[in-house]
């Protein structure tokens, strides 16, 4: 390497992300952001100062060695860059696309103090995509242990836990209720943001590790968690069933035809491929004027899908302002580019009937921001006399989700007041040998956090299996950090992992 880099010597501008032109992309489901070229990647990698305090690592929920992999990119050692990322993140092609980097690693990037931060997410995505294209996969030479692990739910939390346990030599089976694996990545996030082929490629990598996927299996109803731990012989179980139970609006008119949840719209479109109706059998009625309530990632996806399905006008109604909008910055930016009309500080009060059980319009009030609430955001309050009507024939609500009730209905697992599974700091539930993580524990969060939870649970699972002792039950993994025969206790799971 040459001279030491300084903020003055690095490229001042971020390498721009090649994108599909707006007019073209609103008519298709092909990815909007096309991905960096090798040249873009090398140039962007040069922008990293490799600063000694590495704030980005702390900013990443799973602590990827970011300067490490960027340095390898700079040296054109792409394979090593991939190996570094996959030490901590198993799904770089996915996380590079969907993580809210602007509030994580890129937020604390030193370069960002002066210039635009290093485009860490885009670099990560490039590494992930290259690995898929090149067929790289780190399949360790795994010595089987005698443990059998059951994973419920095939979203990012379940996938991450499955991968770690498979690497520890366990016999891992993932159960998924849908007919395809992937969780929200498959049924929720649309192809133009995260192509299904990418998700499938990552799932194939898990298969290569020996993970078995059993779709069409509704755990709780086909068999219970208790049965898994009992007669089915699973030594440990991980629950990552997500939080996909849509909250209802609770305003007059919310059960009219033409009012649906973003989950329903997205599932019909993405998983059931209603966008190809009648080639695929599942129908979806698109409106002319669509209003989406909410401004999270789910809402952005619902709006942009509506546009691509032929809606003439799509608007967003959100009770707070743009500053509080929880979606990824890039998604809001893309939505604005695509001509979505945003009604910030607006709240719906009633959905109006067209006389045939359909939607004619929506009555709204304007809001203003008052005192901060529990979440630290300023609480929106209605402005008196500000009622007005929006013309619409399709209302989509994306105002959050609750815990799915099925596991709670069918097991004795302890739930919290809001119906989520209660766990300790090590993600152990009230049932011995049963761990849980992801949205079903935290409520709706992010892909990377769900993945992090899956890995943390795997770590606790290993600790639990190491000291498998019926009388003592579960011992706290956190207390037992130490060395034993020169190995971390969490690695003492009767398996030796040798990276080939």
């Amino acid at each position: 390497m040459g001279k030491k880099r300084t903020i003055r010597t690095i490229p001042q501008q971020r390498a721009p992300m090649p994108e599909q032109p707006v007019e073209q992309r609103v008519k298709n489901f092909t990815e909007v952001a096309c991905g960096f070229s090798v040249a873009d990647t090398l140039k962007e990698a040069e922008r990293c100062l490799l600063c000694p305090d590495e704030p980005c690592i702390a900013g990443c929920p799973v602590g990827i060695n970011i300067p490490g992999f960027i340095q390898k990119l700079g040296q054109k050692d792409f394979r090593s860059a991939y190996d570094i990322i996959t030490q901590t993140n198993l799904l770089p092609a996915i996380c590079g696309r969907v993580c809210p980097q602007e509030s994580q690693c890129e937020k604390v990037c030193t370069v960002g103090d002066t210039l635009e931060p290093v485009a860490i997410g885009r670099l990560e995505r490039w590494v992930g995509d290259t690995a898929i294209a090149e067929g790289w996969v780190n399949v360790p030479d795994i010595e089987p242990s005698r443990f059998k692990i059951g994973i419920v739910g095939s979203g990012p939390a379940g996938m991450a836990c499955a991968a770690d346990m498979a690497k520890a030599g366990c016999d891992v089976t993932v159960y998924e209720a849908f007919h395809q694996a992937g969780g929200v990545l498959k049924y929720g996030i649309p192809d133009f943001r995260l192509p299904n082929t990418i998700v499938d490629a990552e799932i194939d990598n898990l298969r290569k590790l020996g993970v078995k996927f059993e779709c069409n299996t509704l755990v709780g109803r086909l068999f219970t968690i208790e049965q898994m731990r009992g007669e089915m012989g699973f030594d440990a179980v991980f629950i990552g069933t997500g939080a996909g139970y849509p909250s209802m609006l609770g305003i007059p008119g919310d059960s009219l035809n033409g009012v649906l949840s973003a989950n329903e719209l997205l599932t019909r479109c993405n998983l059931m491929r209603a966008k190809e109706f009648p080639g695929y059998d599942t129908p979806l009625i698109m409106g002319h004027r669509v209003v989406v309530i909410g401004a999270g990632n789910t809402a952005m996806d619902a709006m942009r899908v509506s546009l691509r399905l032929g809606a003439e006008k799509v608007s967003c109604v959100y009770r707070r302002s743009r500053t509080e909008c929880p979606a990824r910055a890039e998604e809001v930016h893309h939505a604005e580019q695509e001509g979505i009309e945003f009604h910030w500080l607006t709240n719906p009060v009633e959905i109006l009937d067209d006389g045939n059980g359909g939607v004619r319009g929506m009555r709204c009030v304007r809001m203003e921001l008052g005192e901060p609430d529990d979440s630290g955001r300023r609480r929106p309050v209605a402005v008196t006399g500000s009622e007005h009507e929006l013309e619409t024939d399709l209302v989509v609500f994306a105002i959050g989700t609750n815990a799915n009730p099925i596991i709670g209905q069918t097991s004795k697992l302890k739930l919290n007041k809001r119906g989520y599974i209660e766990t300790d700091d090590n993600l152990a539930t009230s049932m011995v040998g049963v761990f849980a993580g992801g949205d079903i524990v935290t409520g709706a969060a992010t892909v990377i956090e769900a993945m992090g939870a899956g890995r943390k649970a795997a770590c606790s699972m290993k600790a639990y299996l190491r000291i498998r002792d019926v009388n003592r039950g579960y011992a706290d993994a956190g207390d037992s950090i130490g060395q034993f025969f020169g190995l971390a206790l969490s690695e003492q799971n009767f398996a030796r992992v040798r990276v080939a």
Binding site: N216, L218, R221, Y245, M248, T267, G279, Y280, I406
Partner: protein, 319 residues
């Protein structure tokens, strides 16, 4: 562990031109199934996820039985493609809360149209728990009757109603319920399953007598796991998801007008799908199914006419 499910169709019976049963291999499900629960089926990869009630299960053979009415594209297509030896692409369940077979002493189990088969496991469940079971079954006419032997075996009394009077009493399921109420005192519970209009009529029949009436609702579903909210139904002011909070609900609270409206959401698309599908079928050889010529030999009637015939709402109108 139990043998892995193959989703293979091991048995099929055609009861009439529009009704057929499929016996599907799924040992774990046969073990887990309870009266009142349902499954979601995809017959092929590009198919729709459709809910069907578990009409019977055989824990010994490891099979579940579905009874299907051919009303639209998917159910008609299945009528042709689901032959013994073929496999369903996807089958998931058992879904929904099992019916509460309580300590009722005397119950009426009423089924009409596509609700005849689904009420069977409940009738059997009540019989096994020691109740006096009065079965009320509604068909349009005599030649459409099926499973009367199965019902006879688990009902203490069986009332058959036909719209045209060709068998049993002339009238609707609700007339049958009325008769049962006239003849018996102390009916603890009525279970009514069928098209929304039939269930509504049954609920109105029992309301003056304040007899607890359970109905099994059939809104349009997608996932069946509580994830989409498409199956929401109104009970008074409350909103419930039929797939996880039901499908059984207290009939006296159900807003049937809301259910009927929501069921009509995709009428246009359903017609289009059926039209398109029957157009492609016409080009192939005559369609034979279960030994019976279903899609009438030429001239093939247009799809819209076909749809009229077994419309789930028209069938056993008013119950």
């Amino acid at each position: 562990m139990v043998e892995r499910a193959s989703f293979e169709i091991t048995g099929r019976e055609d009861f009439s031109e529009v009704t057929y049963s499929l016996v599907v291999h799924h040992p774990l499900m046969a073990k887990a199934a309870n009266p009142g629960q349902f499954v979601i089926v995809m017959s092929h990869e590009a198919g729709e996820r459709i809910p069907l009630t578990i009409a019977d299960f055989d824990r010994h053979e490891g099979t579940v039985t579905l009874v299907v009415q051919a009303v639209g594209k998917t159910t008609r297509e299945m009528q042709q493609t689901c032959k013994v030896g073929t496999r369903l692409y996807a089958l998931v369940g058992p879904m929904g809360l099992p019916s509460r077979i309580g300590h009722a002493k005397k119950v009426v189990c009423a089924g009409g149209g596509l609700g005849v088969a689904p009420v069977f496991p409940q009738a059997r469940g009540f019989k096994e728990s020691g109740a006096y079971v009065i079965g009320v079954l509604g068909f349009r006419s005599k030649n459409l009757i099926f499973w009367s032997d199965k019902f006879s075996a688990c009902c203490d009394e069986l009332i058959i109603c036909t719209d045209d009077g060709s068998a049993g009493i002339k009238g609707f399921v609700s007339d049958g319920i009325k008769r049962a109420i006239e003849r018996h005192t102390g009916i603890d519970e009525v279970v009514a399953i069928g098209p929304p209009m039939m269930m509504k009529a049954c609920v109105e029949t029992t309301r003056p007598h304040a007899i607890k009436t359970i109905v099994s609702l059939n809104p349009i579903m997608v996932d069946g796991t509580g994830m989409c909210g498409g199956c929401r139904v109104k009970l008074g002011n409350e909103v419930k998801f039929a797939c996880v909070d039901g499908p059984d609900f207290d009939g006296h609270k159900v807003d049937f007008a809301d259910l009927t409206t929501r069921l009509r959401r995709y009428t246009e698309q359903e017609k289009l799908a059926l039209q398109r599908w029957s157009d492609t079928c016409r080009m192939k050889e005559p369609l034979v199914s279960g030994g019976r010529n279903v899609a009438a030999t030429p001239p093939h009637p247009p799809a819209t006419e076909l749809l009229e015939l077994p419309d789930p709402f028209e069938d056993v109108r008013g119950g």
